[in-house]
């Protein structure tokens, strides 16, 4: 009897176990990781390397007690999505978060249009959910927590450098309500990026820097570059083409530009080992896709301008930023890749030197500088170039100017080809001293093949003497301005499925195939404010005390001294001596 019950129990257990096992194997994976490295030679001969690590977290929609639909990570089981960021999303009801730390400036004119650009310094912009009650409080706490996670001084973000743009920063992920009061944007132009910021960024990756493409991220070589930008983008996306369910997407991107002139001693050849002092040996085991793309568009245009070794297993063609481009693909997960050697070292050799002075200029680029001289007034001038031969398109310009440069909006002048160009939309929020900065947003139409100049005059304020930094003669920074535009493309681009196409084509949502979205940043400006002589407080104290002591004494004397007539009397010897001394001194005698 017991034996039969035992056998039955075992059978039951086996059945349940197999059911459970079947159930486990047929349930869809909850999150996925894709990693990608894009190596693109830039028109000026430098090399840009863009790493993208995308973790997609399939959480459930969560409805908070019958209220509006709130996207929240449902459970607290974190596998590929980092727990630090997941907890942030649920605590502060964040819809989208974009943080970038950049050192250097992307020179659009010589390097071409970037895939993802970031302003010099630290930039943070966040869309909150509409169930947030106090957006400013959530913003302040969020920026402080991010400052701790990334070891960056984001705690300096306060109301004097935070603005609420109305049109420039639309959500990049799914959004049904876009009330711009839920958006906050801040830039800290003085921040630098160093190993302290790279390490926590690398720690968020599922494989860390131990396997996959992240082994190339060694600080010693990464910080030998002309431009270094690392970013974290979190947004909700559709899980598939039908968009019935929503997932969270975390993209970690890192862009570096290697100066091949100084590395290669004049020759523009490069290899992975020369740049990163490492080669790739395996893909990250947790990744569902791990690829290296090399831009070989120049190869097909003219005959055999460059040569890539090892020869790629496949070639991918895509229309990116209005251009037909060809990419050599190295799939780290394919078994054929590591047949020849254990490690992959992609090399590129230029057969012919590049033509010197004819660079193809990008369709949209901009420049900003301060005109005028002196410490009282000045003028911020922005030049926007549209080099498209026949298409005009509008651009949204967002300027954030700190309060101590007092802008005079009546001096705003926009000229194109000598004629005045009126913007079709202006949103201006004046500054409040020590509270908030100026915000100027304009929608400007750029005619074809033209240069538009936007100038606005300002006056430099005199700060209170305790508000000066220890190095006031260094100057004060003005954050970079943002240009957002839908640039018309030369060729028709077909919308590709986000899951099949490479990561670098799917960051910005493209609505139709005739134009692509571009966001550009201009240079930060360094402006000197009139500084007092900081030794003056000591001098003033000395002078005031001297004047008070001397003048007060004599005035008191003048006002209160009375004169009496004294009878002269002849006294003793001592008195006579004293009188002589008194006469010499000029004082009346005793």
């Amino acid at each position: 009897m017991a034996g039969a019950a035992g056998v039955l129990g075992l059978l039951l257990l086996l059945l349940l176990g197999s059911l459970g096992g079947c159930g486990g194997s047929t349930a869809p994976p909850r999150d996925s990781l894709r990693e990608e490295l894009l190596l693109s030679p830039l028109p000026s001969g430098d090399l840009a390397a863009t790493f993208q690590f995308r973790a997609r977290w399939d959480s459930e929609l969560h409805r908070e007690g019958g209220g509006p639909l709130t996207l929240l990570p449902a459970v607290s089981h974190y596998r590929l999505f980092p727990k630090a960021l997941g907890q942030l999303l649920s605590k502060y009801l964040v819809r989208e978060l974009h943080l970038s730390l950049t050192q250097g400036f992307w020179r659009t004119r010589t390097w071409g249009q970037p895939y993802l650009q970031a302003p010099a310094g630290a930039e943070l912009w966040v869309w909150f959910q509409d169930s947030v009650t106090d957006v400013d409080k959530a913003w302040k706490e969020l920026s402080n927590i991010l400052s701790g996670i990334f070891c960056a001084s984001l705690n300096f973000i306060d109301s004097t450098n935070t603005v609420t743009p109305t049109a420039s920063f639309k959500p990049l992920g799914l959004a049904n309500v876009t009330d711009y009061h839920l958006l906050r944007y801040a830039v800290l132009p003085r921040e630098v990026v160093c190993t302290e910021n790279l390490t926590p960024w690398k720690k968020l990756l599922p494989c860390g820097s131990k396997a996959g493409l992240a082994v190339l991220l060694k600080a010693e070589r990464l910080f030998h570059t002309s431009y270094h930008s690392q970013a974290v983008h979190i947004r909700p996306i559709c899980r598939d083409a039908s968009c019935l369910s929503v997932s969270w997407e975390l993209r970690q991107t890192l862009t570096v530009v290697f100066d091949t002139f100084s590395i290669g001693q004049g020759k523009r050849d490069w290899s992975l080992f020369k740049m990163f002092s490492r080669t790739v040996t395996e893909a990250c085991p947790l990744a569902s896709e791990s690829k290296i793309y090399v831009d070989i568009s120049s190869k097909t245009q003219e005959n055999e301008l460059l040569e890539v070794t090892p020869p790629p297993l496949s070639v991918h063609e895509a229309s990116v930023q209005g251009d037909r481009r060809t990419y050599a693909v190295y799939d780290l997960l394919s078994p054929f890749l590591f047949n020849v050697s254990r490690s992959l070292n992609v090399q590129l050799k230029w057969k012919r030197p590049q033509d010197s002075l004819d660079l193809s200029t990008p369709v949209l680029h901009a420049q900003r500088y301060v005109s005028g001289y002196g410490l009282q007034t000045g003028e911020i001038s922005t030049l926007i170039y549209n080099t498209h031969p026949y298409r005009a398109f509008p651009v949204i310009l967002l300027e954030t100017v700190p309060w101590y440069l007092r802008l005079y909006v009546h001096t705003l002048v926009i000229t194109t080809k000598g004629k005045e160009n009126k913007p079709s939309y202006i949103h201006y929020q004046p500054a409040k001293d020590r509270r908030r900065p100026h915000l100027l947003e304009m929608l400007i139409q750029l005619p074809a093949n033209s240069v538009t100049k936007i100038t606005i005059q300002f006056e430099r304020a005199l700060l209170k003497w305790t508000e000066y930094t220890p190095d006031p003669n260094h100057g004060f920074y003005v954050s970079p301005s943002v240009l957002s535009a839908l640039v018309p493309s030369v060729i028709a681009m077909k919308a590709e499925d986000a899951e099949q196409s490479p990561l670098f084509t799917s960051l910005f949502p493209s609505s139709d195939g005739s134009s692509y979205f571009v966001r550009l940043y201009t240079e930060p400006l360094l402006v000197n404010l009139p500084t007092p002589d900081f030794s003056m407080p000591y001098n003033v104290i000395c002078l005031t005390c001297t004047v008070v002591a001397v003048c007060y004494g004599s005035f008191y004397n003048l006002l209160t001294r009375t004169f009496h007539v004294e009878e002269p009397n002849r006294g003793g010897l001592a008195k006579r001596l004293a009188n002589i001394i008194r006469k010499v001194r000029g004082v009346p005698p005793l």
Binding site: G104, H228, Y373, S381, L525, V550, N557
Partner: protein, 409 residues
Amino acid sequence: MGLLSDPYRRRALSRLILRLNTPLCILSYLAGLGWFLGLASPPFTLRSYMSENAMGSTMVEEQFVFGERALSYAREFAGHKKKVGGIPVAWLEKTMWNLGLEVYKQPFSRTLPFPDETRERYMVKGTNVYGILRAPRAASTESLVLSVPCSMGQHNNQAVGLMLALASYFRGQIYWAKDIIFLVNEHDLIGMEAWLEAYHDVNVTEVLSSGMLGRAGAIQAAVSLELSSDVITSFDVAVEGLNGQLPNLDLVNLFYAFCQKNGLLCTIQGKLQRTDWDTLPAYVHSLQTLLLMVLKQGSGRPQGDHGLFLRYHIEAITVRGINSFRQYKYDMGTMGKTLEGMFRKLNNLLERLHQSYFFYLLPSLARFVSIGVYMPAVGGLVLVLVLKISPVPQLQGEWESSGLQQGQA
């Protein structure tokens, strides 16, 4: 304050001034003049020192070795300049491009109010060519300028060669925090002013120029180089700028410090400094140097291309290589090392130069007279005027009282 509140004393004092007015005036005038002439002597001068902390403490080894390259660039430039008959724009653009700089050119033109003596022309047309060395990992917020004037004939060819050699050396270094602009300006001061006006987007002298395309942020300091021979015997520095404005004294001290470090002979006003300080001939020599500087400042004319930078709050000096009949000559390598050292120190600056004096007189390169010391000379001259007008209230009182008496009587 018994002196001023005692009526007896006050009257005695004013009577003294009245009685001795002319002798006192002559005395104060002579005291002011004597003080001024005495400025060149040791009690009034201080040894120069670096005030800016960021420029003081680093001791780096300069590694510039491209002296030969500088000479070959100079020969090529001379040949092309002769062929073109002006500034060889195409050759300069191509050479700067091959060095890895971002090259731009700026054509300008100006109608002179009076015809130029040498060529009897009213319209001056020229082109400035400049290349920008972008510092790695910097957002182009600050920059330094090394400018060389492109003169007619055989002048300043070696300066262009040295500039190009320095550019090629600087391009390979990783430590630049500021962009460096290498500028070759045509027609000396007119070209320099055209470039500065276009850079700052102002219109002060109505020079017509095409807009400037390449910018590098706020310029912190500039050095203008003039060199017309392959080897030199000394480096001369010119400080006086437009309308007598002077650069910060730290820049002159920087030049002197690096000349001493590399063993280069350096002069000011073309005069070598003497080592004996206490003798009469040394005093006369210092006085001559000082008076030359005062005269040049008084003329208001900039003594080099650097003089035009000062208006824009950019500290600048002009460094000239002099080749005289001296035994010991210095080659391009030493000159390059000196300039490299200066630029590396300027690269270290965190703030604009503001710590040292802006108003000073230089009896020699190692000594200076600050404004606090030379002002009493002017004070002595102004005291004459004060003495002349100070007894007037007393006199007025006396006239009134005598007038009253006369009126009464």
